[in-house]
């Protein structure tokens, strides 16, 4: 029998090392540990259960095949979410190619309505419980365009810098900044709207 370890108790780093040595049971444990996080990130980007599920599966296959490229600079979970985001971006681009030029692109170029919106003076999220807040954010994210949502997910959830987002989204830093700006302004307005709706 192979040398026995308790996979469920092992650290991620040990499981990664064993997975690099083609130990599929170790990788299975990593998948079990982080699959919800990966799925949640894919869902945040795609807003579609089937697409998120397919991307999660593809991400784990890609993760296994690229394990040699993982040197532990970031955590394994962070590395996997990067793979997931890249797959999401590929799918978003593919879908975009199939559509006519979208309104969101025009918004990026012209400034969008968000620039003209009044500033939300009262913090619409003050006093909300964390879970309630997450649910509200989730509802608001649903209403953003793909490019605005992607910018938000990459900056706020993946904690990438402007430069890194620009590289991944294949656009200029200026475009990233404007996408983030419009997305945040729209989110503020949406969150305020959702708060008002609850108060009625």
């Amino acid at each position: 029998m192979s040398d026995t370890i308790d996979y469920s108790q092992a650290e991620d780093t040990e499981l990664v090392q064993r997975s690099k040595e083609r130990d599929m049971q170790a990788y299975e444990e990593l998948v079990a540990r982080h699959r919800d996080k990966i799925y949640a990130r894919a869902f945040s980007m795609m807003r579609n259960e089937d697409e998120a599920l397919d991307i999660s599966q593809e991400a784990w296959v890609k993760g296994w095949r690229r394990l040699k490229q993982f040197h532990g600079q970031a955590s394994f979970a962070t590395w996997m979410t990067r793979i997931t985001i890249n797959l999401c971006l590929d799918l978003i681009r593919k879908k975009k190619r199939q559509r006519a030029e979208s309104i969101e692109q025009l918004d990026d170029d012209l400034g969008g309505v968000e620039r003209q919106m009044d500033v939300v003076e009262v913090n619409p999220t003050a006093g909300l419980e964390r879970q309630e807040l997450r649910e509200k954010i989730d509802q608001a994210l649903e209403q953003l365009s793909d490019s605005h949502r992607t910018a938000i997910v990459m900056h706020e959830f993946q904690q990438l810098e402007y430069k890194e987002i620009a590289k991944r989204m294949n656009c200029s830093i200026g475009t990233v900044m404007s996408r983030l700006f419009y997305a945040r302004r729209r989110l503020a307005s949406l969150l305020a709207g959702l708060r008002k709706k609850d108060e009625l």
Partner: protein, 164 residues
């Protein structure tokens, strides 16, 4: 307010400004109520989004999801192995290998059939033994024998492995 100014206020919150630019924007915030209000709104939104991703459970069991991932991994590795095995440019004589191999296999099969003995090779089949093309093994060049009497399934993998 210009878009450039608005984006600078945002960049201040995101920590993406140089020291000189940061001081300039901070001076603006102290002097301009509109800029200050925008800064507050953006900061509130950024604060709300921090750790703001809704947790979701993958809607498939651990077992089922892993079996799909494992199957995909194996399929990908098989196709990779195949592509390594079949280089693009082939010598002219390699194209003759398949027909020559098939002819040789026919001759060998005929000889084995004629001799009727079990000493001919690994795939000699006796009565009561069913030979089927393998669909479960998902590997090229493999044969499965179902030995009903011996209650066994024998899978012969046509690969030169050194496993001892």
């Amino acid at each position: 307010m210009k878009l450039e100014t608005q984006l600078s206020i945002q960049a201040l919150i995101d920590g993406e400004l140089s020291d000189a630019k940061r001081r300039e924007v901070e001076r603006l915030l102290a002097a301009d109520a509109g800029a200050k209000a925008l800064h507050a709104e953006l900061a509130n939104t950024v604060g709300a989004l921090r750790d703001g991703e809704l947790a979701r459970e993958l809607p498939e069991s651990r077992e089922f999801f892993w079996s799909k991932v494992a199957d995909e991994i194996e399929a990908a590795e098989r196709s990779e192995a195949r592509s390594v095995r079949s280089p693009g440019a082939k010598a002219w004589w390699t194209r003759l290998l398949a027909p020559l191999g098939a002819a040789a296999a026919l001759v060998v099969a005929f000889t084995v059939f004629q001799s009727g003995g079990p000493q001919g090779g690994p795939h000699v089949v006796r009565p009561g033994v069913e030979t089927v093309a393998d669909t479960e093994l998902e590997l090229p060049n493999s044969v499965t024998l179902h030995l009903f009497q011996e209650d066994a399934t024998v899978i012969w993998v046509d690969t030169t492995a050194d496993l001892n």
